[in-house]
């Protein structure tokens, strides 16, 4: 005979005094719950890992979710070929430290084989979708963790924590499953997969406060450093192999840091003296401009730039 539970509350005379969890503890607990649900319910999950701060936080949460065991899934990097060298170095070191398997989807290979064409503006962030979907299909990943946050963008604000993608990787924002309580429905049919966003409810400031509290290492370019830059589209662009100034663009040395890390050819730096994580927390708390508005040329194209990319299968 099986059992149900009674309705009578237990006598909890010696209950501990209620101390509410801080918002960071609550968000951490929610994210770990989601990560464990996905691992328990899916055959083959993977975590999208770029070396950017959100994916680093995701990986940190995964190590906590399965402690003292290893993180039980591989990480997937969609490599634009336009990388900051220190981020690739950080990626490889992290993967080795945690004993993970790294799967790389390469934009360059798709360009070389003619399956993708270089864009007129030279940026490659929008080109990531095809290699991403290819890597998901080839590796038969049925769930892919992403570090997307709802505070990043208006389209992302409508995203579910478990977001179903069809055979073509497309997002249908008008036909999403309702998400109730903490019950996540990850059921999918063959060919479909799910994108999982455990830190959906975190803000940029939460991420930084968590990095500070947990003492999480990040690539050095998140902190103030001297760099040769030039001005373009209202941002400071780093001088690098894929990011060369045009004739009229003057190169100067500035103390800058990055708020996001992506394709070097379209990710801008901000002037900042924030050299430590505490400085960054204070700077982010005071910032009057969003991280994407500040540093991503590709998101400035239109009000619906992110929505359109997401519908095609982007994160």
């Amino acid at each position: 005979m099986s059992t149900f539970l009674t309705e009578e509350p237990t006598q909890v005379t010696d209950a501990p005094v209620s101390t509410r969890l801080s918002s960071l503890d609550t968000l951490e607990s929610e994210a770990i719950h989601i990560i464990r649900e996905v691992v328990a319910e899916f055959e083959k999950p993977a975590l999208l890992f770029s070396g950017g701060k959100d994916s680093v936080v995701m990986l940190h949460l995964a190590t906590k979710a399965f402690w003292p065991g290893k993180v039980p899934f591989p990480v997937l990097h969609v490599d634009t070929g336009h990388n900051f060298p220190e981020v690739i170095e950080f990626r490889d070191r992290t993967v080795e430290r945690l004993g993970l398997k790294l799967v790389v989807g390469s934009v360059q290979e798709f360009i070389d084989s003619g399956e993708l064409a270089e864009r007129a503006d030279g940026t490659r962030n929008p080109l990531q979708t095809v290699p991403l979907l290819d890597a998901i299909q080839r590796n038969k990943f049925d769930a892919v963790f992403g570090g997307g946050r709802r505070d990043e963008d208006k389209a992302r604000a409508k995203e579910r924590i478990l977001s179903l993608r069809d055979e073509f990787g497309q997002w249908d924002p008008r036909n999403q499953r309702p998400e109730l309580w903490n019950l996540y429905n990850g059921r999918h049919t063959v060919g479909q997969h799910v994108r999982a966003f455990p830190i959906s409810n975190w803000t940029e400031l939460d991420v930084w406060r968590y990095i500070e509290r947990e003492n999480i290492e990040l690539p050095g370019l998140y902190y103030a450093h001297e760099r040769e830059v030039f001005a373009r589209d209202g941002m400071w662009r780093a001088v690098g192999e894929v990011s060369q100034p045009r004739d009229h663009e003057e190169v100067i040395t500035k103390t800058v840091r990055y708020r996001t890390v992506g394709d070097m050819s379209c990710t801008g730096a901000v002037e900042s003296a924030a050299a430590t994580v505490r400085d960054v927390v204070i700077e982010v708390a005071a910032s009057t401009i969003t991280e994407r508005g500040a540093t991503r040329a590709d998101d400035r194209i239109s009000e619906a730039a992110m929505e359109d990319r997401k519908k095609d299968g982007y994160f």
């Binding site: 059992t3 309705e7 402690w67 604000a157 998400e179 903490n182």
Partner: protein, 470 residues
């Protein structure tokens, strides 16, 4: 170009201090200014950053928006999808984030027109409080009654009614008091605020001009209550109200049993591989109540008698805790080596009773595919999903009159009552007292879509709330 950043002042340092989290939702009818209110809250609490405001200002100007608030259509701050901006309506629940010195807020903005039940149920399911908007010129409408009825059904702890557009009735106290009386009357009919947990507050606001939204307005001198944001900053959150009144409940998500495969970083950090060779713990999130070392617990596995044992460890990523409470994610070690698996529930010992696989529940039907008697569905409760048969649909709630009508089918946005037979019994509890363990999803076995939100009732006849009994 100059991305503005300011460095270290004492105020900013405190802005980066830890806060607690509060989740709330907004619900309203078409055109009662909900998106504007949300935009106002975000704008006045300085959660809108300069580039977002610029984008909205550009679009407002393109469309010739001439309202106050500096010519900015605040609704554009929340309407995130292209179709929403084009049609000037909100289609889907949107989540927004802002913080004050006291709290971090997660706001679920629930559209009020088509699919309002689906959206309100979704937003309210995780909310500590819900703000319902009323247009001061229109007063309590049938849709207001529907909204309040859904919130009562979902046991939302705090319901705040914002009487909006109070500027358009010349800040009239008479108008406000009449609406307030109507709201309180509906609340009494529904039993809102009568059980010592839920409460009902009514506030006069102008979302367009900001009266009583963030700061108290001097244009409503007859109102001596708090502004909306003050209320949101001070109401107790659901886990403050509930977590220590309830018995411990812990659905097992997975078993952590690394055997040889220990995390290399943990080993590098000094973890002794020998000591963890036989490590075995049950990972999950505490859904209700709290647990401490040495507590007696029962492991509930469908089809088996409860097995009682002792909690010998509460682990969290290398830290050993003496106690933990909802909503913490932890891993529990138990004294006895039982076979415990995902889908089992660990509960405080002595809080279990005999039961059957028959379930009586309210179903909020969220799918365009109607429910028919005899349907085979999946039920997801906690961490277990089982097959189920819908034996009877016993009634449909008329949300305006709060009466049950006879029916044999439920359609999109209907709330009805049904009897289900489960393939395996689940540790379901009465939703009236258990917002987590009394809730379940109904899933379509064919395409995997979510069909309904389920709220467990007791058997007909011993239901506390006779209005909803059959």
């Amino acid at each position: 170009m100059s991305t503005e950043t300011f460095l270290a002042g004492p105020d900013l340092a405190s802005a980066a201090l830890p806060t607690t989290l509060f989740r709330f939702a907004t619900a309203g009818s078409v055109d009662d200014g909900k998106s504007t209110l949300v935009g106002r809250l975000l704008h006045d609490s300085k959660a809108i950053l300069a580039d977002q405001l610029d984008a909205v200002a550009r679009t407002s100007a393109d469309r010739g928006f001439g309202g106050s608030a500096g010519g900015i259509d605040l609704a554009l701050l929340t309407d995130g999808l292209r179709a929403e901006r084009e049609q000037g309506i909100t289609i889907d629940v949107a989540y927004r984030y802002f913080a004050t010195d006291r709290r971090s807020f997660i706001l679920a903005d629930c559209p009020g027109h088509v699919q309002y039940t689906k959206n309100t149920v979704t937003g309210a399911s995780t909310a500590d409080a819900v703000v319902v908007l009323i247009d001061a010129r229109k007063g309590v409408l049938e849709q207001t009654r529907r909204h309040l009825s859904v919130l009562q059904l979902l046991r939302v702890a705090h319901v705040i009614v914002a009487v909006n557009k109070i500027d358009l009735v010349e800040f009239s106290e008479d108008v406000f008091r009449a609406i307030e009386a109507d709201v309180q009357q509906v609340g009494r009919e529904l039993g809102l605020g009568s059980d010592g947990v839920a409460d009902l507050l009514v506030i006069p606001v102008s979302a367009l001009d900001g009266d009583n939204v963030v700061d108290r307005s001097d244009r409503t001198p007859w109102y001596d209550g708090p502004a909306l944001l003050e209320v949101l900053e001070t109401l107790p959150a659901a886990d403050e109200l509930e977590s220590h009144l309830e018995s411990f409940r812990f659905p097992v998500q997975l078993v952590v049993r690394p055997q040889g495969a220990l995390a290399p970083d943990a080993v590098a950090g000094g973890l002794d591989p020998e000591a963890y060779r036989d490590y075995r713990a049950y990972a999950g999130q505490i859904t209700e109540g709290s647990v401490k070392l040495g507590d007696q617990v029962s492991v509930l596995t469908p089809g088996q008698a409860p097995r009682t044992t002792t909690v010998t460890g509460i682990d969290f990523a290398g830290r050993e805790l003496a106690e933990a409470a909802a909503p913490q994610s932890v891993a529990l070690r138990l004294a006895d080596e039982f076979d415990v698996a995902r889908g089992d529930t660990i509960a405080a010992a002595g809080t279990v009773r005999e039961a059957s696989a028959d379930v009586y529940a309210a179903l909020c039907w969220l799918s365009p595919k109607p429910l028919r008697e005899g349907a085979k569905v999946l039920v997801k409760h906690g961490t277990r999903t089982v097959q189920a048969l819908v034996r009877n649909v016993t009634g449909k709630l008329d949300l305006a009159s709060f009466q049950l009508e006879p029916t044999t089918t439920l359609e999109l946005n209907d709330i009805g009552h049904a009897q289900l037979r489960l393939a395996a019994p689940l540790p379901l509890e009465n939703y009236l007292h258990h917002r987590r363990t009394g809730a379940f999803l109904v899933i379509d076995p064919l395409d995997g879509n979510t069909l309904a939100a389920g709220l467990v009732n007791d058997h007909p006849g011993d239901h506390e709330d006779e209005r909803y009994s059959i």
